[in-house]
């Protein structure tokens, strides 16, 4: 059983070229920040290393950090330019009974993160949901389609904080 600091040191020694940061000064549990293009390598290592054995991806969540620049569009609505979208990975080892949280941030204008669906099958639908709700593109995902919204939904990603609901969808009025 290892805590996040020990896991961070193991990762640091095995991935000297990767940008890895440990974040502990928060009221919630500490997490490790990784680069969006190293997620797959680090995840595979976390799963297969005999000291770590993270065999279970408990949750994969998208987050809109909403930390860019607020501007007004032509219609006068406030939209966000720049800033980041994040993905959080909650991992657990069912054999060694320890947990860790990974975070990766990607640019809001072209959000791309490497998929981990080949490493944990559970990630497949979670990544589709993050794509559906936030528009984060998962590179190497086998089937990156919308999962909850209609397949022909062309009005953006509903959980982004500057999302505007359309007036009509397929002839049906959407607002109350």
């Amino acid at each position: 059983m290892k805590n996040t600091e020990e896991i961070f040191l193991i990762l640091k020694n095995n991935f000297p070229d990767s940008e890895l940061t440990l974040k502990t000064d928060i009221p919630a549990e500490p997490f490790i920040i990784v680069s969006p293009f190293d997620v797959d390598k680090i995840s595979l290592f976390l799963r297969d290393n005999s000291e770590l054995q993270f065999d279970s991806l408990m949750c994969l969540s998208g987050v809109d950090d909403f930390n860019g620049q607020k501007i007004k569009d032509e219609a006068g609505n406030e939209i966000m330019q720049g800033g980041t979208l994040s993905v959080y990975y909650h991992l657990e080892s069912t054999s060694l009974r320890h947990k860790v949280v990974l975070k990766t941030s990607t640019s809001r204008d072209n959000p791309e993160v490497v998929s981990v669906s080949e490493i944990w099958q559970a990630a497949n639908w979670h990544e589709r949901e993050a794509y559906d709700m936030f528009g984060i593109k998962f590179i190497n995902h086998p089937d990156l389609r919308r999962i909850l919204m209609p397949y022909d939904w062309e009005f953006g990603y509903p959980l982004r904080k500057d999302y505007q609901n359309p007036e009509f969808y397929q002839g049906m009025k959407v607002p109350y």
């Binding site: 919204m149 509903p158 969808y169 397929q170 049906m172 009025k173 959407v174 607002p175 109350y176």
Partner: protein
């Protein structure tokens, strides 16, 4: 019964009008489309089960819209599902009736403001005969809604549909 037992002659013959006979037949065996949408569907299933026994009013779930008379929209109608609900309704033969069950189906319910995915009332896609309020409505409320629908059918005319 009410409508059919108005007049009996000696030879076990019932005298009534065609309108009353048709209305009686229609309201006494309302087969519902066997489908549910959300938590209201659980209450609807409870209404069908032995304790509340929907079957005593002639309501049985029919697994085909083409052989159904009533569609009970039991739950949150998402925009994605609304197109399917509309198609189910269009596949039903006339005369057909709609019961909107629960707040979501009536007006969007708790999703009325921030539900980016919810149709704010099923009456935006299909015409509703009876609205049953509640979140979710208890089986008694759904039974009351069915009795209201039966009342409506009982007063229908072949010339003009009652409102």
């Amino acid at each position: 019964m009410g409508l059919l037992d108005k007049e009996f002659s000696d030879g076990n013959i019932i005298i009534t009008t065609t309108e009353d006979l048709f209305n009686w037949a229609r309201l006494s065996s309302l087969w519902q489309v066997g489908f549910g949408l959300a938590c209201c569907a659980i209450e609807m299933m409870a209404t069908s089960a032995s304790h509340y026994d929907f079957d005593r009013f002639g309501v049985i779930p029919r697994p085909s819209p083409r052989q159904s008379d009533v569609i009970i929209v039991s739950g949150t109608v998402t925009l994605k599902m609304a197109l399917r609900v509309k198609r189910l309704y269009e596949q039903m033969p006339d005369p057909k009736y709609v019961i909107s069950m629960g707040s979501c189906s009536n007006c969007g319910g708790p999703y009325w403001e921030h539900g980016y995915h919810v149709l704010k009332g099923v009456d935006r896609v299909i015409p509703v005969d009876v609205y049953v309020p509640g979140c979710p409505p208890r089986p008694e409320a759904l039974l009351e809604g069915l009795l209201k629908l039966q009342e409506k059918i009982r007063n229908e005319s072949m010339v003009k549909k009652s409102t």
